[in-house]
Symmetry: C2
Subunit: 328 residues, 2 copies
């Protein structure tokens, strides 16, 4: 089902029921955004395939996305990304001009992120067996921020988001639906290499990082507390959300907390360093709207709670249902 | 066009006209099967996407192929493969049983090759936007056989092939066409890690390695001599080809020299060590039918010549035309 690719519960079931039993090893089993290969290598590796529709969208295209997505995953695992591989699956009939334009986006994003495309592969499939272009990138880097893990979270830790949420998912859905809406909303697609370099200086006071892509902020936070005795409590009024995202989500029947981001991170940090980390993020590229949005508590083990503006409390579960197919 | 993915002249044009200008860097520009990252890292990286149809074929399936293909590319670049990433693009409707069986093949091949699947990603696309399953793998390893390059070839060097050629391409085409032929022919799909470990002991006496996949032996050898003052002369009678491959190729109008292999390598080696290298290959897994098939000469710069059994000489060019779409 499409839902197996949505980044929610069914995706998690595929991983736990099929892939982990088949491939289990120490690096894979941590289920981070990227793998940290223990031992002297200190390598970090991650991969993503990109099947986004449409492949050109406000704020980016599949090429830029395919660099930022993987670079950010290497960063979230504590790595400094250095090398990318690039695998293209082209559908017969794709225009060479379009491929050229996607290649230019890839080159520009790789330049900004400081990574080299060192190896690649191109396959072509018949018309009707693809959708223009699918891209896979794998990224390799070296560990510079060791030990990032949800297991390091403690009661009282602060939860920081690096900027306004839901931009990517909402912008792509709005442009896909062709609703005839004039919107200035753009995807937030961007490499977080600079921001993560700044975060590395805080060492173990940064507990864990995650970029909330498919499944959004709510799903990422659920993955943090899953299987722990901890709870994450969010203050709805503190979560930065653009007006255009609110309006777009209302129109589309979506919730920004479940919409994909492609240039944001969530950091859980020690309470006493929260303001310092926040300020470091705000001074890093793409971090100007960062905010502390919640705290780690022991109120309800394994749960994410949202305190709403009207003094209510709502439980946020993982994404269920393919709300947003082919969003990345 | 489909031909842009066939591994022949049009594939090479995509690389030289679009990808190299956009992404140029020292590791990429060598255009080997994998990239060697110079400097202290001594990393080797390669990637391939797999779109083979049908996805189950005699001797393997897309899962086994996706491990062997990338592992072998890392080996050809002189690396000892250690880590693989796995990116799946599934078409809505693929049976979970089938995915499970592909995952089992991947795990078995990875085990034999001595690599760990450390990171992965799954996307699902709508019916009619894929073809069951496409797989990308990227492989990372450490350099153990430095300096492999066509630039190291010298007049008099021997050309060795590690076994009978054309098995993979012919087996897949025969089973695809559903010609109702009873054939015992299987793909040669296999990891060449053991063989390459043995070859590393010969150091710079092994000039260059390549696994002749898309485009076959003829295309790979053309890539070796391209832009050099050297020629490769092959003795047709010395090239190991199974009877079933000869018969199948006759029937399909194919030439085994242009058919894909997925468990064979070509090694160009110093003349004085040729017999020793041959014997090492023959004693390694999958090498029992290895043979010396030709020599490097200065007879005709940049050309590959085939001396036929009837004392004629034929020039072998790179593959042109999409003889074998979606063969890997």
């Amino acid at each position: 089902m499409l839902d197996h690719g949505s980044g929610g519960k069914k995706s998690a079931a595929l991983v736990s029921e099929i892939f982990l039993p088949a491939f289990s090893n120490a690096a894979l089993d941590t289920l981070g955004d990227g793998a940290v290969m223990a031992g002297a290598d200190r390598l970090v590796m991650s991969t993503d395939s990109f099947v986004i529709a449409p492949r050109f969208f406000p704020g980016g295209d599949i090429g830029k996305l395919s660099v930022c997505g993987t670079v950010n995953d290497v960063c979230m695992a504590g790595g400094e990304p250095k090398y990318l591989s690039l695998g293209l699956i082209l559908e017969e009939g794709l225009e060479v001009d379009e491929l050229q334009s996607i290649a230019a986006s890839i080159a520009m994003a790789a330049g900004e992120a400081g990574v080299h495309i060192v190896t690649g592969d191109t396959k072509v499939v018949e018309r009707g067996k693809g959708d223009g272009v699918y891209i896979n990138t794998a990224g390799v880097g070296f560990l510079r921020h060791a030990g990032l893990s949800p297991a390091r979270m403690r009661e009282g830790d602060a939860v920081i988001v690096s900027g306004a949420i839901g931009d990517h998912g909402t912008a792509v859905m709005l442009c896909r639906k062709d609703l005839g809406i004039q919107s200035s909303l753009c995807s937030d697609c961007a490499p977080l290499t600079g921001m993560c370099k700044a975060l590395a200086a805080f060492g173990s006071d940064v507990r864990v990082l995650r970029d909330p892509t498919r499944g959004g902020v709510a799903t990422a936070l659920n993955e943090f507390v899953e299987g722990t005795g901890l709870c994450i409590e969010l203050m709805e009024d503190d979560i930065p959300i653009r007006e255009e995202v609110r309006a777009g989500c209302d129109l589309l029947g979506l919730d920004p907390l479940y919409c994909a981001n492609e240039g944001k991170l969530i950091a859980v940090v020690a309470a006493e360093r929260a303001e310092a980390v926040l300020s470091a993020i705000q001074n890093a590229p793409y971090g100007e709207n960062a905010a502390i949005i919640g705290r780690v508590s022991a109120r309800s083990a394994g749960r994410v709670l949202l305190h709403t503006g009207i003094a209510g409390t709502r439980m946020l579960t993982k994404l269920t249902g393919a709300a947003l197919p082919r969003i990345c």
